[in-house]
Amino acid sequence: MTIHGYSIIHSFTHSIIQSFNHSKLDPAPLLLTFKLAGITSVLLLVIALPIAYWLVFGKFKGRGVVEALIGMPLVLPPSVIGFYLLLAFSPSHWFGAMIEEYLGLRLVFSFPGLIIASILYSLPFMIYPIRAGLQSLPSSLREASYTLGKSEWQTFVQVLLPNCKPALLTAFVLTFAHTVGEFGVVLMIGGNIPGVTKVASVAIYNEVEALNYPAANAYAMVLFAITFIILLLVYSINNRLLRVRQPA
């Protein structure tokens, strides 16, 4: 990193620390945001891998319907998703009632509810890059593995996944960053219970409403800085990985 970039980040951190000191800022919403983003990204990676594989290599009709459904969060207002999830999660609805009866979980205004909502809301951000990564691999790699006696599973784990690392990294980080940036869905189904559902984006909104601009600024700058650094790292790593893969 250049001296210039370093000094920008340095003054950035400095002003963030100052804002925390001046306003006696509560770090809980930030920690909650990154906890939510981390758990969502890990769970979604596990869920998305088989779905992406199935979309690329599966033989079935109605692929278009599945792809359209997965892409819905890209175009729908978050409040629409939040609204329907709020209805579905409520104990008076059969889904919410079933979850509460069998798992003892209440999903409305709770952290587990936020995770499920975030998984649904970030679905395309995880699935689309992985699908694109798998599609970009030459089909001969998969076929070569089959002719060497390897099963679909062995081929997926040992050949396909290691060769689309840039796509996996992009998918994971986009999901993480997108979950950090969630607002509408979280507000609809989580509300702002401190330490449970009050994430940073909601905290910013609250502080602005209370005309407490320095606190809002501190939260906002932390989100800005961290998401920028994450994206910067991803793109530099991906550029390096892609350069390595060019034939000598």
Binding site: S140, E143, Y146, T147, L148, G149, N163, Q246
Partner: protein
């Protein structure tokens, strides 16, 4: 596509014909990577495919080796790892070392595929395809992307490996030299059907033409010696000396591109104009 043919085990069959004739598709169907709407594939009395009786052995269980046109080496693995990946748990790991050595890859074992030249990648692909000791090796235009020297080296390597352990080979190729050098049998495919199959000589050599020899080239220098001309000419990448009748003087001049026909006790130049009248000597 409709094809029906049988050929002896432990021989090399070259599959040739114009592009789009279905050669690669046929190869993939034999491998189990593609399924025909109906048909049978039997190898060494093993039923691999019989659509009428719903038999379809997957590619994994056909015990074949397949060398792809783009080599299909796994970019995430080194040369050694590519070969080890192919090694079944029941096989001895010495085989990998032996194949690396035979293919001249021992020094390159720790390189990744993108650090290798085309010829080296091809050797890895060939060695990897043989790790499982397949009875049948399928190759899709394996040497097409290589320069002529490298093609010869790899053809020699294939023959060497077959001397160590005989296996059957089906090879898609467009190269006439390769067909005559390697193949016991050649099959010509056109528009999805097999039009001829036999030994290369049976299929290609037309006895009625064998009296005639045709040479293409370009004249470099020419010298008259009594009733004959002594020409130095560029033929097939080399400078060669030709003795030709003096009556061809007008057609054989420095810079002239020629097609010489030797036959019926006479030498003719065809398809060439006489020396341009303005030519400056």
């Amino acid at each position: 596509m409709e094809v029906d043919f049988t050929f002896p085990a432990h021989s090399i069959l070259a599959l040739t014909g114009p592009s789009g004739a279905g050669k690669t598709t046929l190869l993939r169907q034999i491998a189990g990577l593609a399924t025909p709407t109906s048909g049978r594939v039997v190898f060494n009395n093993n039923q691999w495919l019989d659509t009428a009786n719903s038999i379809h052995i997957p590619a994994q269980q056909r015990h074949i080796g397949f060398v792809f046109q783009d080599y299909a080496l796994f970019p995430n693995m080194t040369v050694l790892q590519n070969l080890e990946f192919a090694l079944p748990k029941t096989h001895k790991s010495e085989l990998v070392g032996h194949l690396l050595e035979t293919a001249g890859l021992t020094q390159l074992a720790d390189r990744k595929p993108h650090q290798l030249s085309g010829g080296q990648q091809q050797r890895v692909a060939l060695a990897r395809a043989l790790v499982r000791e397949p009875e049948l090796l399928l190759m899709d235009e394996p040497f097409a992307a290589l320069d002529p020297d490298m093609q010869l080296q790899l053809q020699d390597l294939l023959l060497k490996l077959r001397r160590e352990r005989p296996f059957t080979v089906i090879l898609v190729t467009h190269d006439m030299g390769e067909i005559f050098r390697l193949a016991d049998q050649v099959a010509i495919m056109e528009n999805g059907t097999l039009t001829r199959i036999g030994t290369p000589s049976e299929v290609y050599l037309d006895k009625s033409d064998s009296q005639e020899l045709i040479i293409f080239g370009e004249v470099l220098t020419i010298e008259k010696q009594g009733e004959t001309l002594l020409a130095q000419a560029w033929i097939d990448g080399k400078i060669r000396q030709l003795t030709i009748p003096a009556k061809l003087e007008n057609q054989m001049y420095p810079g002239a591109k020629f097609t010489l026909h030797y036959g019926d006790g006479e030498v003719k130049v065809s398809g060439r104009k006489d020396r341009p009248p303005t030519a400056d000597r």
